[in-house]
């Protein structure tokens, strides 16, 4: 990261691998998600340009701010998650292609950045003065506290296995030297926990409690329209691209080689199939599942990692 000029930095954040690249790939991936879902439900599914048509349409629509809401916060909230995703994409690509170059503690920075999109939705939904959004925001908050505990426990496993490194570059190098962390008992358990957390971070079906269409009318997004709704959708699309990449970086040997593509598609397919074959949890069930189910498994994975299993 040191030695980038101003223009180089701007190019990396805005074009590749930052905003534009991640958005285009993410939108294509949301099409894959909708298409596979349609095939699972025995439908034909949308055309490949569907997410782009949605985007163009939402740009032409009016952006409405509800009466009595706090206007500035309401309009700024969607930007928080989008910015975090741009930074994450730059960091992840940099770390994978130059494992020596990143700074100490970037794993912790990434964990914090991944927790910004739910923060943005909570702030925006609370600012919108809609009772359904308020319900959605409180659910999103509870869910966030739920999945963050097993997620952090699972991320302790690669840190232990690499001998106490909290630099993503060191994790990638340790895996290139001694094989991916996934190929061990504790690694498999931890990766499955991270997969469940990804599902919850994306707000996909067993955990789409905060924006449930049928219960609370898309909850946290209920008052958003036009350009501000686009930003939430783009954030979700970018997360669909970046979260599996994060999983590959931390557990499956990094993505600086061609093998990363089938790995990525496999993880994406797993996410979509979990989404299509499960009913929605209630919020208390989800919390219990994450804290007592996956939390216990996480502790087990950490103990196994200490025993070198």
């Amino acid at each position: 990261m040191i030695g980038w000029s101003g223009w180089g930095l701007a190019f990396r954040f805005i074009v590749f691998p930052g905003f534009l690249f991640t958005v285009v790939i993410g939108l294509v991936l949301t099409w894959v998600d909708r298409f596979v879902s349609a095939r699972v439900q025995w439908r034909k599914g949308p055309k490949f340009y569907q997410p782009f048509a949605d985007l163009v349409k939402l740009f032409t629509k009016q952006t409405m701010v509800p009466k009595g809401s706090s206007k500035t916060v309401f309009l700024i909230a969607p930007v928080i998650g989008l910015t975090a995703m741009c930074i994450i994409s730059v960091l992840l690509f940099y770390v994978n292609f130059n494992p020596h170059g990143s700074f100490v503690g970037d794993l912790i920075v990434l964990v914090y950045l991944f927790s910004l999109p739910p923060l943005g939705t909570i702030i925006g939904a609370s600012a919108s003065r809609n009772p359904l959004s308020a319900v959605g925001a409180s659910r999103e908050m509870t869910l966030y506290f739920g999945y963050e505990l097993p997620f952090l426990l699972a991320l302790v496993v690669p840190v232990i296995k690499s001998g106490g490194a909290i630099r993503l570059g060191s994790l990638v190098m340790a895996q290139q030297a001694g094989g991916p962390f996934l190929y061990s008992v504790s690694g498999v358990i931890a990766a499955l926990i991270v997969l469940a957390s990804i599902q919850a971070k994306l707000g996909y079906v067993p955990f789409d409690i905060a924006d449930a269409d049928q219960e609370i009318m898309t909850g946290v997004y209920a008052e958003y329209s036009g350009a501000s709704l686009i930003m939430f959708r783009l954030t979700k699309a970018m997360m669909l691209f970046l979260l599996p990449l994060f999983l590959i970086t931390v557990f499956w040997g990094g993505f600086a080689n061609w093998w990363a593509i089938p790995k990525f598609l496999l993880i994406l397919l797993l996410i979509i199939l979990i989404k299509n074959t499960n009913p929605r949890f209630q919020i208390d069930q989800a919390l219990r599942f994450f804290w007592f189910g996956l939390g216990g498994l996480g502790v087990l994975a950490v103990i196994l990692a200490f025993l070198n299993l």
Partner: protein, 138 residues
């Protein structure tokens, strides 16, 4: 509206369903649009839960004194440009309820209607045609 915006609007009309005291018959037929048999996601039509996300409002049922302010409020909450499509004969001409004491008259006295789909209930194919025609008039 420019050409690109019109292309986007025609390829991705999101539908919000206002059931203004209908007999539930048209509502069930609307739900049939989203089943695998008709699969309107092929055309980008998606049922959304909030009027803020909608481009097309599907209204069913007779407009009466109780639901008139509510229907108007939902129309005001929808970001423009949006199309309003009347589903069923009740919307077209108040059907068998036209002499009822609480009916306040046809929709086009209060809302800009873009298309009517007659039938009791209309077929899903007719509804798809109605939605696309309404978007053509925007």
């Amino acid at each position: 509206m420019n050409k690109l915006g019109r292309w986007g609007l025609k390829r991705s009309p999101w539908v919000y369903h206002i059931a203004a005291a209908s007999c539930n018959n048209c509502d069930i037929e609307i739900l049939e649009l989203f089943t695998p048999r008709y699969d309107v996601e092929r055309f980008g039509i998606v049922l959304v839960g909030s009027p803020r996300h909608a481009d097309v409002l599907l209204v069913t049922g007779v407009l009466n004194r109780k639901n008139l302010p509510r229907v108007l409020e939902v129309y005001e909450q929808t970001p423009k440009p949006c199309a309003v499509v009347g589903i069923g004969t009740c919307v077209c001409n108040n059907h068998i309820f036209r002499n009822s004491y609480n009916v306040v008259g046809p929709y086009d006295k209060y809302l800009p209607m873009h298309a009517y789909v007659p039938g009791c209930p209309p077929k899903p194919e007719a509804m798809i045609a109605g939605i696309l025609k309404a978007l053509g008039k925007l």
